[in-house]
Point group: C2
Chain length 196, copies 2
């Protein structure tokens, strides 16, 4: 199994150039954590203390509405990041759950360490600025899909954009991510299959 350290470092290097010293700094800011399937890494009412990089595995963040329905906000598989950003950024209580969908390995950085890292060198500030901007653009595109497309169109788009995710997450989680019921997604899938 691949070592986890290179994998986060590689991610940083997509956006900023690192010296050997920087790599050491990053390595000491993160800690590797093994997470079992069904284990929570963020829970409502507790402050999200970490930003989590998924080395390998799969996670899902979701909120629970008044009547108890779960709504998936994000998925994260290998090489993605996940947390309750509203909680982490503002360091206030979370409203989301973040749960492992598989046995996983993650690299966690906590809020204070991240702050030190950013303060230590401009390039780290640049790194976090860049991923925040990309996250912003991502959520904006997602909102546009939700406003402009039908359930079936959203499903098709997801399948073609993220075939790997689609295979690894349970259907009820995908349905609530796409903003539809699990029954309806089941129908979409099966009607589609028949048409072939």
């Amino acid at each position: 199994m691949a070592n986890s350290i290179p994998s986060v470092i590689d991610f940083f290097e997509k956006f900023i150039a690192l010296t050997e010293e920087d790599r050491v700094k990053i390595t000491s800011s993160f800690k590797e954590v093994k997470v079992k399937k069904r284990q929570f890494i963020v829970q409502p009412n507790f402050v999200a203390t970490h930003r989590n990089y998924v080395v390998h595995g799969a996670f899902r963040s979701y909120v629970v509405a008044d009547e108890g329905q779960e709504h998936t906000i994000a998925f994260a598989i290998d090489d993605w990041w996940i947390t309750d950003y509203n909680s982490y950024i503002f360091q206030k209580p979370a409203t989301m759950f973040v749960v492992a969908l598989e046995d996983s390995t993650i690299m966690q950085i906590d809020y204070e360490k991240e702050k030190e890292l950013k303060a230590s060198h401009q390039k780290f500030e640049t790194f976090f600025r860049t991923i925040a901007e990309r996250g912003l653009a991502f959520y904006q595109r997602r909102l546009i899909s939700n406003l402009t497309q039908t359930a079936e169109e959203r499903y098709n788009e997801f399948e073609s954009k993220y075939p790997l995710v689609s295979q690894r997450v349970p259907q009820y989680a995908l349905a609530s991510f796409l903003g539809m019921t699990t029954e309806y997604l089941s129908k979409l899938r099966n009607h589609r299959a028949k048409k072939k």
Copy 2:
């Protein structure tokens, strides 16, 4: 009428401490532009060259779906920012329109100037990182509303959170922002009025 320079400067000072030199640098990075009602500041297929701070006035960004319906993505009134972020951040062609809903005054910074500003001092990198993070958190909350709430709940929430915006934007724009038809919003408003 208030001078536009102090107003952007004040915004920066919410997040970072500025020296007199910094203020001069900011002032020279932005240019004031007067925009007439119905004038576009971003259009599809053109790269969004500026990030726009609204000194006073009102704007709306929207996309046009296949069948021609407009979907409002964001509003911006006094002291807010607006652009097509997906276009601006990646400097690729826009998919949105951004149009003035009133005669307005804005302060524009272009992509290159912003880059220089960020490169010139860590604090500016911090500033843009902070607003990107807040934007991300904002869009994530908006997505949650869209997934978890009914049309009526979204309308009520908007009215109580942004009463000033609600008064200044046309109803068809608000309806499409909230993800419903203008007819349905009209019914919600009037049924509500009767119940009193």
